[in-house]
């Protein structure tokens, strides 16, 4: 597991704890993000918290809108737009 994926899991767990007050569910590569129980607002806070933690937001950087369905797709999306520095 790489550092980016670690960071994403950590931020997910933080947002989950704040929004739901419980322990976050396990994220497997094929986990459907929408089925984790995080709603639109929760997901928006997750993406925004990742922006604060990682310093970039691929949803804003990408020219075309892309909506990752699984956790693996989500991580790959962040990998693709990771700044080179």
């Amino acid at each position: 597991m790489n550092k980016l994926e670690d960071d994403i899991r950590r931020v997910f767990a933080e947002v989950w704890a704040l929004e739901k007050g419980s322990e976050a569910p396990a994220l497997m590569p094929n986990t459907i993000l929408l089925e984790t129980g995080l709603d639109s607002l929760g997901f928006a806070i997750f993406v925004s918290s990742l922006d604060e933690a990682l310093g970039y937001d691929p949803f804003t950087l990408s020219e075309d809108a892309f909506y990752p369905q699984t956790f693996a797709e989500f991580v790959a999306f962040y990998e693709r737009y990771r700044p080179n520095t």
Partner: protein, 448 residues
């Protein structure tokens, strides 16, 4: 003047409203539904119903038979509903869940106001809608069936069942966007598919697909979420409508790619002016040529970066406090716009109102709550763009010198969660060293 019941396109015994729990309404029954003897022509009735089928039945029964119908969201607090009903001069609540209040307005169940009485010549019933917003009492905006159906497209009543539009219902039917779906479906010559919107979204998408949904209207936030549901490919949509929030280009592109066979529209609606128009070229904003001629006979102008609208039916302009109307009758929408080349795009609200996935939040209301937290010296609440919900609430906080940042952050979160709607709770709290103030000593607010 014809009533809602008379305008229902399909008057036969085929279902025109279907629910995923198996219940149906047919056009013949809806056209003939009447009111009970106690319902008088001068009755002003507040509707606070949860079930969309009940709402449709109530509207079919009451329009043309009473003086006014006040449409209240079932999500409103009972006290707020009472205040609105009193303001609107209502003498009766029709509700499935409100307790009989002491000394308040009487409450009856829907069955008690339905009956067999119908005036031959319908009255011009007022349809009173309310504005949305997470703080304060909503405002009442007067409409008539005519003003609400101005943009309804009549498909005609083809007997070919396969070509009949099936509108999916994802909105609250008592709100402007939801009512538009109801009226479009039933007057426009279609069928309304009601599903349980409390189910997980993947189940809602499946239910809509099972209903044969071909026409769907939702907020950009909900469309973005829908496209994250793997089963969205099961929907064979012919019409995709976005409304309730600014539709940005990436979202429009994504919806077009996901539903290539569908006609794509995004709706601009102004509560202040009580009108709206739709844009169908798939591009964000609207063409500059709309300033010469806009759809639906609405007239538009831009002054100092703010859009003004002249509604086609005069006398319907809501005379609400805080709504500005100029000598020519143009209503200030409060929406800031940018003209670039041949396109006009929306920037946000001039009063800083934040739209989070269709839920409107006043920054001042959030600031008022954050200010009560010990350790907070100054606070400024603004919007941060979100690719998911359009916007999120950001609070910038200047701390008292002795305050502990971590403890204060937690206390701000706890206090806001206890006293504000979820959307209004700051998603991001930033500590800053100071703020810019204007000549009046007020925090400088830049719209977002």
């Amino acid at each position: 003047m014809t009533s809602f019941a008379q305008q229902i396109a399909f008057g036969g015994s085929n279902p025109i409203v279907t629910s995923d729990d198996g219940r149906i309404l047919d056009g013949l029954s809806l056209r003939n539904i009447g009111v009970a003897q106690g319902v008088k022509p001068n009755s002003r009735i507040a509707l606070k119903l949860d079930d969309p089928l009940d709402i449709v039945s109530a509207l079919a029964a009451l329009d043309g038979q009473v003086e006014a119908i006040l449409l209240l969201s079932h999500a409103l607090a009972p006290e707020t509903a009472q205040i609105l009903a009193r303001t609107a001069g209502c003498s009766l609540f029709v509700s499935d869940m409100m307790p009989e209040p002491e000394g308040g307005i009487a409450v009856k169940r829907l069955e008690a106001v339905l009956g067999s009485h119908r005036r031959e010549i319908p009255l011009l019933t007022e349809w009173l809608m309310t504005t949305s917003g997470t703080t304060g009492i909503p405002k009442i905006v007067p409409h008539t069936l005519r003003s609400l159906t101005r943009s309804v497209y009549r498909f005609g009543t083809s007997t070919d069942q396969a070509s009949t539009p099936v509108w999916g219902m994802l909105y609250d039917a008592t709100r402007f966007a939801g009512l538009q779906v109801v009226l479009q479906a039933l007057i426009g010559g279609g069928r309304l598919a009601v599903i349980d919107t409390t189910m997980p979204l993947a189940d809602q998408v499946s239910a809509l697909a099972d209903h044969g949904c071909t026409h769907l209207s939702a907020t950009p936030t909900l469309w973005r979420r829908l496209m994250m549901v793997p089963a969205h490919g099961r929907l064979s949509l012919r019409q995709v409508t976005l409304g309730g929030e600014i539709a940005d280009q990436p979202t429009l592109n994504a919806v077009r790619a996901a539903f290539p066979a569908a006609r794509l529209s995004h709706i601009y609606a102004s509560t202040e002016a009580g009108v709206g128009f739709s844009v169908t070229d798939g591009l964000a904003g609207f063409p500059l040529t709309y300033l010469d001629k806009a759809p639906g006979n609405v007239r538009l102008k831009i002054e100092e970066g703010v859009l003004w609208l002249l509604p086609p039916v005069t006398g319907l302009v809501p005379s609400l406090p805080g709504i500005e109307v100029d000598d020519a009758g143009f209503v200030r929408s409060g929406d800031r716009v940018l003209v670039e080349g041949e396109r006009v795009t929306f920037l946000g609200r001039e009063n800083g109102l934040i739209n989070i996935g269709g839920v409107k939040v006043y920054p001042e209301a959030v600031e008022a709550v954050v200010k009560t937290v010990p350790g907070v010296a100054l606070v400024k609440v603004s919007a941060k763009r979100s690719p998911v919900t359009g916007a999120l609430v950001v609070a910038e906080v200047q701390l008292d010198t002795e305050a502990d940042p971590d403890a204060t952050r937690r206390m701000i979160q706890d206090t806001c969660r206890a006293r504000l709607d979820r959307e209004a709770v700051p998603a991001i709290i930033r500590f800053v060293a100071g703020f810019t103030t204007n000549a009046a000593g007020k925090l400088v607010r830049t719209g977002g």
